[in-house]
Symmetry: C2
Subunit: 527 residues, 2 copies
Amino acid sequence: MIEWKNLDKAAAYGELKQLKDKVCLKEAMAGENGARRAKEYSLPMAAGMTYNYAAKAVDDEVLAALKKLAEEMQLSEKYQALLSGAVINTGEKRLVLHQLTRGQLAGEVIADGVNKREFYVGEQKKAADFAEKVHNGQIVNEKGETFTTAVQIGIGGSDLGPRAIYLALENWAKKNNTFKMEAKFISNVDPDDAAAVLNSIDVSRALFVLVSKSGTTLETLTNESFVKDALKKQGLDPAKHMVAVTSETSPLAKSSDYLGAFFMDDYIGGRYSSSSCVGGVILSLAFGPDVFARFLNGAAEEDRLAMEKDPLKNADMLDALIGVYERNVQGWPSTAVLPYSQALSRFPAHLQQLDMESNGKSVNRDGAPVDYVTGPIIFGEPGTNGQHSFYQLLHQGTDIVPLQFVGYRQNQCGMDVDIQGSTSQQKLCANVAAQIMAFACGKEDANPNKSFAGGRPSSIIIADAVTPETVGALLAHFENKVMFQGFVWNVNSFDQEGVQLGKVLAKRVLAHETDGALKVFSDLLGI
Amino acid sequence: MIEWKNLDKAAAYGELKQLKDKVCLKEAMAGENGARRAKEYSLPMAAGMTYNYAAKAVDDEVLAALKKLAEEMQLSEKYQALLSGAVINTGEKRLVLHQLTRGQLAGEVIADGVNKREFYVGEQKKAADFAEKVHNGQIVNEKGETFTTAVQIGIGGSDLGPRAIYLALENWAKKNNTFKMEAKFISNVDPDDAAAVLNSIDVSRALFVLVSKSGTTLETLTNESFVKDALKKQGLDPAKHMVAVTSETSPLAKSSDYLGAFFMDDYIGGRYSSSSCVGGVILSLAFGPDVFARFLNGAAEEDRLAMEKDPLKNADMLDALIGVYERNVQGWPSTAVLPYSQALSRFPAHLQQLDMESNGKSVNRDGAPVDYVTGPIIFGEPGTNGQHSFYQLLHQGTDIVPLQFVGYRQNQCGMDVDIQGSTSQQKLCANVAAQIMAFACGKEDANPNKSFAGGRPSSIIIADAVTPETVGALLAHFENKVMFQGFVWNVNSFDQEGVQLGKVLAKRVLAHETDGALKVFSDLLGI
């Protein structure tokens, strides 16, 4: 029997709080003890990846307390319930089924009379068939020419995840001869966004993928009209250039305005939808369906590993728990995500949405206010770029920021150069290794301005290379981490009521139904 | 006589601390009082821009206390000293002269026997002449063809600012027929970064701008070699495809490996160098020297406005002071920068470096530890994209995050579409106006999950459009804000000792001179 309760009702949380500042990271990571930790505090992940938490400020006692917390909060049971089709999204009274798009880990999930795994697989198949027809010239433009560019029109979850994954795999696909067509993305209601994309492509050979679950997202519908206008001005028929990714009940679903429609449903939130057709159509068009299938496999394997009940054997759950310790016990309000791969340049932006929109909540899953802090601020840029930017504050600022590194042994393009006795790839890897130790152990100096206090915790996920499988596994890792943290905080990680008020007020501004300061600001902005 | 002292030694700081939670923003921004604030709490900036702080949690009493603090900390006098050539960068014992690249606001600054204003103007002139020769075909490749792409090779301050400005003005320049050539950027030591850029251009018609003040930045020199290799493989002469931006004393300065060299000096830190030749060469190549000159004019005008002694008439200084109130009195550890323009997509990343690398310090300008918090975490993405991402946490999370909006009345491309009675541009502006009020005032709801507590402070900078002048003014505003905050915190905002330790350890890894945990991590990463 699952009991949903607030974190501060957990006896294990009381014990955990006694362990504030338990570990002196600087000492723990020094010498042979540090070497032992670096070897032992490590867990396997999917696709041959490893999660190493040696440089986190935990020890066996803290870990034991985290394990008790995981057991008392029934994290594994709650994940199992989610997989089995429980109504985990309490606010909207919905199932949460994004893991089902990539595998079936519990029994069949039937909702609305439909076997949902079959439904998702069926839509993936549709997307794959469609992409293949585009690639082999069965689906072409009015002049019989093949399409050369795919343009996703979507915002938030319909944009950030698919865009981050596209960028992650673009050069891999080119190197591995699976690159089929360029993808572009239009998201912002700022008309300059759509204008710039349209000015950069041959519109007559572009296929647009309109993504809106509800079919009512104002930014996306506005950009759709913008694009349709542009197509018409070139004498092109928009219906021959556009497909929709939406829910079956949306106004877009049966429209004749599209070449085809691919379906998702209310059981997959936008920020969790990369492995549904929201990511599937554009990524299958760009790289071919096989690459998207490999991405799904990586995610599915990570989802399966996340079922392990013991958090000390479960990287996704342990990462979540250490984050809770850092946030609620140590009191650190933010976390930086730092992938050492240029291919992951927009992955932090996706994780920022995934995490902050999921767990940036002040009420629990029953709608009652909570008395503890929840989701942290997430930010990040790729290393080594970040090293020459905000790392100064991370090393020597007055606040401690927990870090999440991601490192790869190999690059994607296979082009490299040997300078001063090492390759670029070796320099990249040397830097991430060095940073872990610099943050953990610091360095004393007679000049305080050159001193490093150390004691700044980090973990690292290590993989061979950025491939479809490792990208899928990495995405699933963070989705599962966020889910487990939501369970610990007893919040609903799957709704986003916080985005509503702005929408309501914006409509009021556009209708000129404003007074007070809102009217003044509207005037100042020339509306 | 200027007295440099720590913030906690200031009597005015003691008074300010008494004013914690002084303002109930929700009440202050409601009704007619809110309308009055929105009209009155506003200051002019350069290039016709406005800084509006009505939705910040301040009132006349807090503002008066901030003014006293500004006076006691001698912010205006310190800025004047900086402009006059004082050694403000105490750690490295250097003058701080980035404002001098765009105007001379105090007397002549002579350093090392050189009139520095004349030096900077002379280098700008060299860059302008060079760019014009490239544009008019006097400088061409080996085959006599014009160059079509300029590629900046640099990292950190040699990358983020110029890249953000290039993206900000790319579509403006195309629309206004001043677009001369495409610019690309290579920064990361990850070899996939350079490989991807080189694969995307016609290398035979590319001009590379190598940027390293010291001439010893490892990432940049590595990427230079990568590029030279690629040029040679195509039978091209690297010396015919590359210029250097560096200091006169660097090993690059007199090298015959370059078509030419443009100089900066030690008095301009990387993150403040966009208005030097670090930005000047690439931006003059991309948009023409006149556009770069207009950018400098906007910055110069903002620098001049920042000289106003009364902080209640000085947007840069007031923004800084309100930030100190939020950080040190209210205890809020981060700030989000949210430009409502897709053109500013990478401006937050530049500000992240500018702010966090400048003021992420734990020692004062004399090298003694400080007993108060300094620079906050800075992050952000363009609106409306952010609204569909991390705004959930900003609205309903457990922490308060101060916000810095930037809004524009007009778009750049002049293409728009009317949907549901409003244009995209109107929707964009309506959203930022709505967000200010939603954050400030919130909205109660019987369902706590749909309730918004409000009380979340923001300011907004409003301009007509993203133009060379407004981009220059916006950049200078934030540079000056960071400088004034550094004065308040009594830190040296112009060095970055925190980046050194990682470099030292990385070299050790590459030399295989490691033991303990560092050796284990090096092994795990396959070095």
